[in-house]
């Protein structure tokens, strides 16, 4: 579209240099110099081409919604809301319920937050408040390198390095010490909900810590000085002067991390065990919404099967949209004063 618009104006476009010369020569003339020479057509065409690109983004979102809604009609009519309350997933008898996948997605994401939030806050606070200035850039660059590693490579590392470690050392230890909670019982397979939670945590730490860092740096310096002047220690200053002021932004960062964890596919698929069961123990294998799509979408033979999978995709889409929108608004409220509006 924009390419079509480009060649046309060549005839009308004024040469900037000639324009200057003309302006110097005819100083006394009262007639507008460029009248009749600058056509408004190319400007209009270009403007509309750019608007087209902008609105294509909105159209893209609409297209995604349409594809998902249209694709899931069959399953929606067959099961209705029961789809999300049923735990039976049986392609042979064409019975589909999304409950085990929703459970797996939610539990693995929450578990990853439990691990990632304290760590990312620690890193963000260290970088903004304690780290020597010269060291700051290197440290934040290194943490962000974690974000550049593809999900499938995380999965590969998790399968061959992390899972054996969990199986041999971490899980037996947890089972012995915390087995009474019921969360850490059963045979230590290595793969399972715990492994998924840990690898997700490693993957969302860069997001949470980099946004938290951004939010912490916009906390005004005099807030820190005021708290210190009242006789606070450094820790009290960080807690009362910095973290409390940046609360909304930090929560936003955490929710953004949650959004990423909910939709993460490959690494989780490789270590969660892929069994549609709801178990209390974190050692047990599970399944998430994203990984059932990854595993079964190409093998879905029946129309209803495919439609049920697309409905899971639709549900995943809406959950992440809501979570992300919420997070954006919270981060904006700290870094820009008001959400969405005050950009200009």
């Amino acid at each position: 579209m924009s390419n079509q618009a480009l060649p046309r104006p060549r005839f009308n476009a004024p040469d900037p240099e000639r324009g200057t010369k003309a302006a110097l020569k005819i100083e006394t003339s009262s007639a507008p110099l460029l009248q009749g020479r600058v056509s408004e057509v190319p400007d209009a065409v270009f403007g509309w081409a750019m608007r087209f690109c902008g609105f294509a983004v909105v159209a893209l979102l609409a297209l995604i919604v349409y594809q998902l809604v249209a694709g899931s009609q069959l399953s929606w009519h067959a099961f209705g809301l029961k789809f999300f309350g049923q735990s039976d997933w049986n392609p042979v008898e064409d019975q589909y319920g999304a409950l085990p996948f929703m459970y797996g997605t939610i539990v693995s994401s929450l578990l990853s937050l439990v691990i990632a939030v304290p760590l990312s806050l620690g890193v963000a606070v260290f970088i903004t408040e304690m780290c020597p200035v010269g060291f700051r850039g290197i440290l934040s660059f290194t943490t962000e390198l974690l974000a550049a590693i593809p999900s499938v490579v995380y999965g590969l590392w998790a399968i061959f390095v992390m899972v054996p470690l969990l199986r041999e050392y971490v899980q037996p230890f947890l089972g012995k010490t915390l087995g009474w909670t019921g969360l850490f019982t059963g045979p230590p397979y290595g793969i399972g909900m715990l492994a998924a939670g840990i690898i997700l945590a490693i993957m969302i730490i860069p997001i949470i810590s980099s946004i938290t860092r951004e939010v912490l740096t916009v906390v005004p310096q005099h807030q820190r000085e005021a708290v210190l002047a009242l006789g606070a220690t450094r820790w009290e200053m960080i807690r009362m002067g910095v973290l409390r002021n940046a609360r909304a932004g930090i929560v936003g960062a955490i929710i953004l991390g949650l959004g990423r964890a909910l939709g993460e596919t490959m690494a989780v698929t490789m270590v969660i065990g892929n069994r549609p069961e709801i178990a209390k123990s974190l050692f047990a294998p599970g399944y998430t919404m994203a990984s059932v799509l990854a595993n079964e979408f190409t093998e879905a033979t029946g129309d209803l099967y495919l439609s049920a999978l697309i409905e899971i995709g639709l549900a995943l889409f809406f959950v992440t949209i809501v979570v992300n929108a919420l997070a954006r608004i919270m981060v904006w409220s700290v870094t820009r004063g008001q959400p969405a509006r005050s950009l200009a």
Binding site: G54, I64, P150, V153, L156
Partner: protein, 268 residues
């Protein structure tokens, strides 16, 4: 307290170093001339490589860039030059939301859009999926870079009688080139390692394929297939493939850092 903070930093950096160390340690032994020039061998036969996957990844990424980059830059120009109003806010918000859509869902959409129509898994479908993921990222970074260009420069161009479209393309966009390229490369690096949206679009292929409407191998897909297979030989290849993929991506990110440092915008 400083101790606790230091401990968290150590805990975060530990997996990073562990991953890189293992990648190099396991991968370097399996990267050789055959790995870079041959197609996969059947199970049980040693040797073979990922040449078709490396080329396939490049083809898919090329298709994605052809569609995604102009569209993304166009949307960025709209946001910064025409979108300082409510419509711009809508597009801005939608791009941020699109950025958060899980990649696997984008894969479903590309499946419905391309694969269902063509009745084929194809490189084209993979490219469409990755392009959809690139557009919002490029749009937002382009916008930010164009906004850094001082208003006075635009006004100077208008004052010389240069039309608006020409100002935007030859003055504003030109000034922000390095920043825009940075954004494009970041988006590129982000989708380069994507696997989930390719699972049911490009699908993967064990052989050479030069047609854009046939199933095409991709490095990330090949790594996934090999990693979850039970064969030792394939595991080695998966490590080697990961190392190649990481080297490609990290060098792109490093190039971005360099471009920003020496870019025309760094002083602005």
């Amino acid at each position: 307290m400083t101790g606790v903070a230091l401990l968290t930093v150590a805990l975060v950096l530990l997996p990073l170093f562990a991953i890189f160390a293992y990648l190099v340690y396991k991968g370097i032994g399996s990267i050789n001339w055959a790995f870079l020039t041959q197609t996969p061998k059947p199970v049980g036969e040693p040797g073979g490589g990922m040449a078709n996957a490396i080329v396939g990844s490049m083809v898919i990424l090329g298709i994605a860039s052809l569609m995604g980059v102009p569209m993304g830059i166009g949307a960025g120009i709209f946001l910064s030059e025409y979108g300082r109003n409510r419509y711009g806010d809508i597009v801005r918000f939608v791009s941020d939301v699109l950025n958060g859509v899980p990649s696997i869902v984008i894969g479903i959409v590309a499946y419905g859009l391309v694969v269902m129509r063509q009745k084929h898994f194809s490189a084209l479908a993979g490219g469409v999926a990755l392009a959809i993921m690139m557009i919002p990222t490029i749009a937002r970074t382009t916008e930010q870079m164009l906004l850094l260009v001082p208003q006075a420069i635009r006004e100077a161009a208008y004052g010389l009688g240069v039309s608006r479209w020409r100002t935007t393309l030859s003055i504003t966009l030109r000034t922000a080139t390095s920043g825009v390229i940075t954004g494009v490369m970041l988006a590129f690096a982000r989708v380069a390692g994507e696997t989930a949206p390719l699972l049911f679009t490009a699908f993967g292929n064990q052989f050479w394929n030069w047609k854009s409407d046939q199933p095409t191998a991709a490095l990330s897909l090949q790594i996934f297939t090999y990693a979850i297979s039970p064969f030792d030989e394939w595991h080695k290849q998966a490590w080697a493939g990961s190392l190649v993929l990481i080297i490609l991506i990290v060098s792109a990110v490093a190039a971005v850092r360099l471009a920003v440092k020496h870019g025309t915008l760094s002083g602005a």
